[in-house]
Structure formats: C-alpha cells, structure tokens
Symmetry: C2
Subunit: 332 residues, 2 copies
Amino acid sequence: MEGHQFDNSLADLPAEVAADLERVTKLIQDRAGSETVQRIHTIAEHLFGGGGKRVRPMLTICSARMLNYSGIAHIELAAAVEFVHTATLAHDDVVDQSRQRRGRPTAQSLWNNKTSVLVGDFLFARSFQLMVASKSMRALAILADTSAVISEAEILQLVTQGRIDLPEATYFQIIRGKTAALFTAASQVGAVIAGGTEAQIDACESYGNTLGMGYQMMDDMLDYSGSEAKLGKRIGDDFRDMKLTLPAIRGVATANEAEKKFWERVFVLGEQRDGDFERAMEILVRRGILEEIHEEAIDWSTRSKDSLAALPENSYRAFLSGLADFAVRRSH
Amino acid sequence: MEGHQFDNSLADLPAEVAADLERVTKLIQDRAGSETVQRIHTIAEHLFGGGGKRVRPMLTICSARMLNYSGIAHIELAAAVEFVHTATLAHDDVVDQSRQRRGRPTAQSLWNNKTSVLVGDFLFARSFQLMVASKSMRALAILADTSAVISEAEILQLVTQGRIDLPEATYFQIIRGKTAALFTAASQVGAVIAGGTEAQIDACESYGNTLGMGYQMMDDMLDYSGSEAKLGKRIGDDFRDMKLTLPAIRGVATANEAEKKFWERVFVLGEQRDGDFERAMEILVRRGILEEIHEEAIDWSTRSKDSLAALPENSYRAFLSGLADFAVRRSH
C-alpha cells in the first residue's frame, strides 16, 4: 500500500535531525540482530536495508527537537517506531504474498512464511525493548494502543477483502489504522518525551494523523498513476493484489454497466488479463478520480500544516511543514 | 510441543488464587475482542476457549499473593502473560502447520494463515496494553526482554529444523526460550508487582525457570508415551512434524546402524509410514530414554521446589511446590 520515497529532495532537513537519523540507523543496526541466532540479523538487515523513507523516525525526532528536547530517548523511540513499522511489513509480506516491496524482493520470497512471521515477532519485541529503554510510561501507553489499532485495521482490511462495495468510510478507517496511527504515535511520543504541554502533544498528534492520511491517499493514488522508476516500486500492486483502495472504490462507484463488469471481473473474480491495469488507469484518469484524490490529499496536508500553528516556530517546525507539502507532491 | 493438562487434580489451589484466576479469565474475555472488528472476537474466543492450563497466570498470581500483594495489577499482568502465550500459539499454528492444539482444531485450519498472523499480532498488542495498565516499568522490561527471547528461540528452532544431529545444548536453549522464559517472567513479575525483595524476585525467577524446563521436557517425553485421552491432545505430533525433541535426539545418539537409517528416513527425508511412530516409541522405551528424561525432569522439579526455600512459607508457596510435583507426574 505504500512506497513513495522521501529520501531525496529533503534539502531543508535540519542538521540535528540528519545527525539524529544517523543515530537511529545505528541503533537499529545494533538491535536488529541476535547474539544467538545469526539468521535473524541477515533477514532484519534485508528488511531494514531497503532503507525506506525513515519518515516515522523523522517525525519523532522533529517533534522532540522542535520542543527543545536534549536527551537521547527520542532516538530510542524513533528506532522503536521504525521497528514496529518494519515488523508490520514483515507480517504484511506473509499475509499479502506480495512479491516486492520497496523495489526489492520481499523477505518472504527469499525466506519462507514461517521466517517472516517469527522475524516480525522478534522486531516487535525489539521495538518493545526500545520503548522500555525510553523510560516513558506515557510513550509506552501510546505505542501499545497504537499497536492494537494497527492490527485491528489489518484485520479489518483482511475481512473486507473481496468486497467490491467497500464503503469509503471503511477505507478511511483502514488507512487511519494501518498508516495514520503510527504517524500519529511517532509525532506524539516525540512531544511526550520532550515534556511538551498537552496542547503541544495534541498538535503533534493532529499533525501526524493528517499527514498520515494524506500520505496514504497519495500513495494509493500513485499506485494507479506514478512512474515506477520514480516511486522505486512497481505500480499496480494494489490492483494485482485485488486490494480495493480509494481509486478503485470510486471507480466502482461511478462505473457504467460495462465498467461494473470490468471491476467485478478483476477485483472479485480475480481474472486479470494483459491491459487490464492500463484500462483501470485510463478509467480513473478519464473520470478525474485520481485528480480528485490528489486534491483531497492536499487538503489533508493543509490541515497538517495548520496543526503546526500551536507549536514553536523554528527550523524543525518549518521542516515538518515542508514535509507535509512534500508528502502530497505529484512526483518526487 | 506442549499440552498436558493442569486443570484437574489441583485440589490444593488456594481459594484466593482460584478467585483471581476467574478475574483473569474475565479480563481476557473483556480484552480479547475489538469494537470495530467482530471477527477478532470469534477467533480469539476460539484460541482462548481451548481453556488450556492457565499455568502461567497461576504463577503470576501465586507469586504476587505469596508476597502479600493486595492490589489488582497482578490480574493485569497474569492476563498479559496469557495473551503473550496465546499470541505465540496463534503464530505457531501458522508456522508449524500443526493441525490440532489442545485437542481442538487450530485457528489456522478454521481460518487462514493471514488471520492467524494478524490475530496473533492483535493479542500481542493487547498483552502490551495490559502490561502498561499494570504501571510497572520493571514488569514491562522483564516482559519485553522475554518477548525477544521467545522469538529468538522460535527462530533458532526453525533454522535448526531438519538437523538430525541437533546438539542437546541447542534443544535446551530452545525450550528455555520457548517455554521456560515465559514461566520465568510470569513468576518474576508477580514478585515484582508485590514489591518483593531482590532475593525473593530471584527465587521466583529461578522457580519459574526450573519449572518451565521440567514441564517442557516432560511434555516432549509424553509426546512419545502419554495417553491421548489423558493428555487431551494427540501424541506423536512432534514425530509427525519432524520436530527433533529430546527423546529423538537421544534416540539418534544411541542408535545402531539400522536405527540410524530409521531416524534419518523419518526425520530428514520425512518418509513416514504406518507403524513408524510405534517403532520410535518402542526404541525409546527399550533404551530407557523416556525413563531417563522423566528422571531429569524430576530433577528440575526438585530444583524448582528448592528455589521456594527463600520465600515465605504459606499456602501459596505450598501450592507452587505441589505444582512442581504435578508438572512431572507421569500421568495426570
């Protein structure tokens, strides 16, 4: 469901944040292995090695720094958040049987299902240890609740699979849980560890949530329109996985008789032929659905930037504002 | 790997412990569901519905009560421990493709792999929330470390699968992680929440560890010798799953040429025929291997009871002592 890159074009990344991200990467490398079982390290390295966007750790670090935090617990929490995210990807690889993620073969295709499940569990355990290391009971509470919300959303997605009439409300519920929840927690715990006021913690919560919503809508939209080279992953994955995301939901909702049959064939019967994905893209462009979703993602991004008003005006806040713009840019 | 029943014959269960276990069961029922996704409750109910032995919650409750604890956090921690255990079973069902557990069809055979992974994750998240509810950072740290140890052991078991020459040391490392670690944590967090002295916490740690080791050795032994009806699960599961446990490891180590070929055929080539399991049992009985393992399990049980010396002499301690005897009784 996700994949566009944040890595490049983040020119205004404050130097302290860049340095903190290095420390997060180092901490992840340190903790991703196991002294007793070498294999874990090999697999974990592969999972993290994709590099990814590290957008979630960025949120934790920026929130903490923005509120003048000078300790080290934000590094632990940022790493914990990335461990949760990576564990989720490992388990996603099992359940979706997706063959590629971040443009590289998934762990599952190199190792088996068993391994992905167990290494995912190990990464969850490591994230949990890092949260404990931060010594913040409130951060632990936020991340515990978030873990529950994430898995509820994963299950909701699973049990509604194959429903061609998936309500938009359910789609939004799923992306809120699968993506926005961890963005929210990542921002929030940064503010918590920095000892922010309740208003500041709320503002970070709101920033993370709206950013996550816009980011995921954008990602789902780009899967029907992006350039593979630029995105660093194949497009059309959701289509091929018969995963009904917002573009397809709206495609179905506005379909004429012929299109209705088309959507049912590809998403319910799973009979997909050469040219089907191109036809789907063509329909979505012609109906203006992709553009419409892009507009809505931009609205989320605007709300995201608005949330920042309650926070101190500094280079970290400026960066977060730029990040919100960046998340919904049509091409990166 | 496990299964013999603790439920019956525990006549000397102190009334307070029985009442606490009721509260744990109620709390588990309350937290096993999700407001948004009904399916979770159905599956979780099935997983917990097997009833099981609730031996881990018993340890938490007894340790806390033994040290005069009068709060409610031991209920939360006991439930958390059982959630961890049940989540592990859900993920085990995926990875082992075992068809039965606790004498009932596994979640996997009723639902699919995806569901078992995600519901397992949900149960882990719930356990995490319950630990946070206990408000004990030290209990959280113990359970976080334990989670990592459990998944390391699961992975160690996975990567050594198919090794007919599995060293006993590796077997012991695996059962220490897969079983004894959670027994240890369960006892320990009870003492921690009760504000026990370091010596008392250590004694509980040692009790849980030795109990877990003896319990698991016994379980692995009984899989080659128990009565299906009494155990409440099929015997021969480890054999059929080609899982090399202590009986088979010693069978291999003492094999003559013909037996060596037999063990290789059934465990490495996986060519199992009618009568093979009976032949394995016959060899293990004839060589005295099952009896020998039983003796060693009893030694662990004795060490377990010895650990209790450092703890207050009361009905809870007496019960824990009886539990150690019970765990290694040849038939229950």
